[in-house]
Amino acid sequence: MTESSIFFAVAAAILVSAAKVVSSRDLVHAVLWLGVVLVLTAGMFLLLSAPFLAGIQLLLYTGGVITLMLFGVMLTRRHREIGVEVDSSRRLPGALGALALFGAMACAIFRTELPAWPASEPIPAVEIGRAFLTDHLIAFEALSVLLLAAMIGAIVLGRQRDFGDEPETVYRRSGRP
């Protein structure tokens, strides 16, 4: 199999799974299809000579994000409504808008002269790590501060008590005095 046929197979699989993500009625199925999209994206990174990014994608997304999403679905699921409500009155405008945007972007892509791929070797993780700790050190540190802030924010938002000035019913509903 040539690289091109692998690419088209992966691309078709990505598109089909993405369609499933936005259309399946069961939210758990949608999350699992998103997992398929993310794994296939890692394959796409491999084709684009970015093996380190493929590893990161598998670890962070399929390992972390999908698990988190599944937890989110299960924590917020109610027994009487299993499916996802899709607003059918918004289906037509949504499809029209998305198609219009896709048409505009496809026109722009076809009218642009794009260069062919240069021959490129896969970039090893060593070089990326070196770039992180030399040229992009400040961005790297800012990113770690951002991750810390996101973590603290999630903990503060997610903990049970300290609802502030919300109505009393909240405490009753969540089974707290």
């Binding site: 091109s4 993310l38 924590l75 409500e85 607003d87 949504g94 490129s120 990326i128």
Partner: protein, 99 residues
């Protein structure tokens, strides 16, 4: 695999994300659609990084991925808070700020 087919693929992915954002009512389904769009953008970034050569593009792709993860964490925390408060996560129902 040319640059054009790759860009077409990512724009199709992005538009599917937009369709999901418009049609879904469940807050977690909205997060999923946003994931789809960000994924398309990351593939684009990596493709152009390969076109430009060098390591910087991939470094910034790592940044995008980490930012997305942070976004998902905070977004899910907000969704769970919304659920704990209102017992449902249909976004139309969260309209307190309008009244």
């Amino acid at each position: 695999m040319t640059m054009q087919t790759l860009l077409l693929l990512t724009s199709a992915l992005f538009c599917m994300g937009i369709y999901g954002l418009v049609t879904r009512r469940n807050a977690i389904a909205l997060l999923l659609s946003a994931e789809l769009m960000i994924n398309a953008v990351t593939i684009n970034l990596v493709a152009f990084a390969r076109l430009a050569g060098g390591v910087t593009g991939q470094v910034f792709a790592v940044f995008t991925i980490a930012l997305t993860v942070a976004e998902v964490v905070v977004g899910l925390a907000i969704v769970i808070l919304l659920f704990r408060w209102r017992r449902e996560i249909a976004i139309d129902s969260a309209n307190e700020l309008r009244h």
